[in-house]
């Protein structure tokens, strides 16, 4: 009987290995998104000050991460920084560092945009109640800004999850790499393996990213009512 291509996924430990690869993808994404969100809020807040040097540093930081491709950043840290500083970093650690820094730069911009889009009279009516500077941010501005950052944040999170597929190139075995290995090792037995394996990976990414956009829609609906 001819082998059905889809069986490649269920042969041996293939399915388990794909999920292990997905776990690595998720680990890098999840940790980076958490760190990026935290740092991004701080960066976003710092970008609403009037202190010029801080603004300049933030501006350069953002532009560097936007202009230079993420892959190059991975190489800079994996090959460059480790050698220059003589430290030993695993591909996984480098991936988390680079994705956190990139995410923080983008998140900072999203938070800044949200804070600056709030009407000036929100600030003034908060001040008129005697709120101190940080109380104004804590109770009035940040809660409103968070709602406005939501679409951008979800978009950034899905972009980060997708872009983690680059980590293959610094030797991290993520879901895409495992897929390639499975295809390589079974290409005689299952000539259509690449179709089924990549198709399966496609579904995995969809399952990870889709709930995020559902969540974002739900929250937006809730906050609008």
């Amino acid at each position: 009987m001819q082998n059905l291509g889809i069986n490649v996924i269920f042969q041996g430990r293939n399915l388990q290995r794909l999920f292990e690869g997905l776990l690595i993808t998720m680990e890098i994404s999840f940790i980076s998104i958490v760190i990026a969100t935290f740092l991004g809020v701080l960066i976003g807040l710092s970008r609403t000050t009037k202190y010029k040097p801080l603004l300049l540093i933030n501006r350069l930081y953002l532009e560097f991460f936007r202009i230079i491709p993420t892959l190059v950043w991975l190489f800079i840290f994996y090959f460059g920084v480790t050698t220059a500083l003589n430290v030993d970093l695993s591909g996984l650690s480098v991936a988390i560092i680079v994705f956190s820094l990139w995410g923080a730069a983008e998140m900072g911009d999203i938070v800044r945009g949200a804070l600056q889009s709030l009407p000036k009279h929100q600030t003034e009516s908060g001040m008129a109640l005697g709120l101190s500077h940080w109380q104004l941010y804590l109770y009035v501005l940040i809660p409103q800004a968070v709602r406005r950052t939501l679409p951008g944040t979800i978009n950034l999170a899905t972009r980060m999850i997708k872009t983690t597929s680059l980590v293959v190139l610094i030797g991290v075995i993520d879901v895409v790499k495992i897929g390639q290995q499975i295809i390589e090792s079974s290409r005689f037995e299952f000539p259509t393996a690449s179709f089924w394996v990549y198709g399966f990976i496609f579904v995995l990414y969809f399952i990870v990213c889709y709930p995020l956009s559902v969540l974002s829609n739900k929250l937006e609906m809730k906050w609008n009512n």
């Binding site: 009407p119 009279h121 929100q122 003034e124 009516s125 908060g126 001040m127 008129a128 109640l129 005697g130 709120l131 101190s132 109380q135 109770y139 009035v140 809660p143 409103q144 709602r147 906050w223």
Partner: protein, 250 residues
Amino acid sequence: MMKTKSEITLLKINDIHKEFDNKEILTGVSFELHRGEVLVILGPSGCGKSTLLRCINGLEKIQSGDIIFDETSLIQDNTNWPVIREKIGMVFQNYDLFPHMTVIDNILLGPLKVQKRDKKEALEQAEDLLARVGLLDRKDAFPRQLSGGQKQRIAIVRALCMNPEIILFDEVTASLDPEVVREVLDVILGLAKQGMTMVIVTHEMGFARSVADRIIFMDEGNICEIAEPDVFFTNPQTERAQHFLNIFQY
């Protein structure tokens, strides 16, 4: 309740100058506000009346002159504006409630977080004030569920719940539909009768006449005329005030 207007000077504005981009907005304004007094500031758009209000609670910095509140100058480097603003409340034109909070949370934010008052006591006062403006049943509503007039009454309650010594009203009915202007003005009139010290910027002439103890008429960044309302409206002394009043009569 009897009016408790007194001769005690609560606020003294002394020759204040304010510039934006080298353009003079206030050119040496001086006046005094007594405890329990209601001052209404009238004048054409751009005469500086809103800016004047905003200077009083430090939302705008002045270039020279002095603002003396309760015998203390506010124009000092170490003025703690948040503390002053607890005592000098302000209600704005655009009923700036915080959209992510319910009515009651909007009102309690200042009393609980700024004044660190007891929650039960502050809540009692807030509910009492809400009942007085007829909105107790809306206390758990969000601002977007309220009409403009309701939002503005809530904004007044929010300012009142801080127990301020003065409230500044900056054209609080200017962006309201005509049919709800009255409900807001009635609230302010009620406060005047209870002896609240207020400075009101408005374009509602009938209201100004009935609420004011004194009218300040401003034009081009300075005070042209200060008079009791009956005198001002029937017999304005300056040509500019006469001209201004004529605009409001068809």
